[in-house]
């Protein structure tokens, strides 16, 4: 009996591994694309900073009392 290093099983597993690689790369691309679109849809990319729940005086409109207090 000859010993074969490459069995049909190995090529099938290779196909599965490549398939999974493609799926994972597609997922990364999907999340990246969604992020770009969502940020661009905000109109002003600085609005993205308002999602971190930290008061940033620079993001407040200029003529509100809160801006004045924050700047004092």
């Amino acid at each position: 009996m000859t010993i074969r290093v490459e069995h049909e099983l190995h090529s099938r597993r290779k196909g599965r591994n490549y398939g999974l690689l493609i799926l994972l790369l597609a997922f990364v691309g999907l999340v990246f694309g969604l992020t770009v679109v969502k940020v661009l849809e905000l109109g002003d990319a600085r609005k993205f900073e308002s999602n971190d729940h930290v008061l940033r005086p620079a993001l407040l409109p200029m003529d509100t009392p809160a801006t004045t207090e924050a700047s004092q």
Binding site: H7, R12, L30, G33
Partner: protein
């Protein structure tokens, strides 16, 4: 490692077996109707969000198919048509199908919610639940009306597509669902009459086997008549237009004629010509649904040019 140690493990799944779990052919109808629901909606959607939305709906449909194959593995093994599916043939383990089904369900619902809105995500979750639990686990083996009620899950995609764009449920999306819902019984039963199935052997109550073909013919005619007002009602909504009106009139007359031919004949006549009328009605049913939704899409395109609407 030698060949001698491998024979039992060569049944290991390939990538194609996992794809087959998602029933890609069924997915095409889901994608098409969801796309139409999204395109005819009055709110424009960013093309990438639309792509992700349709992808999530397709993956959600595939996930429910995997759950269906997990639950139905026992009857799939008995029936000739399904005996070569990944689980009954031993290439995929039932636990794997369950895990893939649950993981893809969660993935598609969460991603759809993040990409569009949570109404669309909720509708997708309901669709998966309805197909996997209400239809597959509960209805399929308990009533000959299984495909009527279970058909709701196949009818919901245009409503999800509409919700992706608008974030709401309106009369237009309800009527698109109703159109597919009422179309499913005559479409499926026309097929059930001429296809030799072994549902009876597997213990699945199909109308053709529990009540006979005569009753099935009556049901086809009844649902066809009920389908007409649903199809025509869409004309009077914001998505109706001249192209849809013309298509609906022609296709309703054509499908009605085909169903009437199925209804009026007896078994001897049907068997004599190898169920020619039933085969014809099935083909007309495919054209009926495709052309209705294609017409909606054409009217939507014409509306953007300022023509086609009433």
């Amino acid at each position: 490692m030698t060949d001698a140690s491998l024979p039992e493990t060569t049944r290991e799944a390939s990538m194609g077996d996992y794809v087959a779990l998602l029933k890609p052919r069924v997915m095409s109808l889901v994608v098409f109707t969801a796309l139409v629901g999204l395109i005819v909606a009055p709110v424009p959607v960013h093309p990438f969000i639309a792509f992700v939305g349709i992808l999530c709906i397709a993956v959600g449909g595939g996930a429910s198919a995997a759950l269906n194959m997990w639950w139905d593995a026992d009857i799939d093994r008995i029936m000739k048509r399904t005996s070569n599916r990944p689980i009954p043939s031993g290439r995929v383990q039932p636990e794997e199908a369950l895990a893939i089904g649950l993981a893809l369900s969660g993935f598609s619902v969460v991603l759809l919610g993040l990409a569009s809105n949570w109404l669309a995500a909720g509708l997708l979750a309901f669709t998966i639940f309805f197909y996997a639990v209400v239809y597959t686990i509960w209805l399929k083996r308990s009533t000959p009306q299984n495909i009527v009620i279970g058909g709701l899950s196949g009818a919901l995609p245009p409503m999800i597509g509409w919700a992706v764009a608008t974030g709401s449920i309106t009369i237009e999306s309800v009527l698109m669902v109703a159109l597919i819902f009422m179309w499913t019984p005559p479409h499926f039963w026309a097929l059930a009459i001429f296809v030799k199935s072994d549902y009876g052997r597997a213990g699945v109550p199909m109308l053709t086997e529990t009540h006979g073909r005569r009753v099935t013919r009556n049901h086809i005619m009844g649902y066809m008549i009920a389908l007409i007002p649903v199809s025509m009602a869409i004309v009077f909504t914001s998505i109706g237009g001249w192209v849809y009106l013309a298509t609906a009139i022609i296709m309703n007359l054509w499908f009605l004629k085909a169903c009437y031919a199925v209804w009026r004949r007896d078994e001897e006549t049907a068997e004599a010509d190898s169920f020619a009328a039933e085969r014809s009605a099935f083909k007309v049913s495919l054209a009926y649904l495709f052309l209705h939704f294609a017409a909606l899409m054409i009217d939507a395109a014409l509306r953007t040019q300022g023509i086609g609407s009433f």
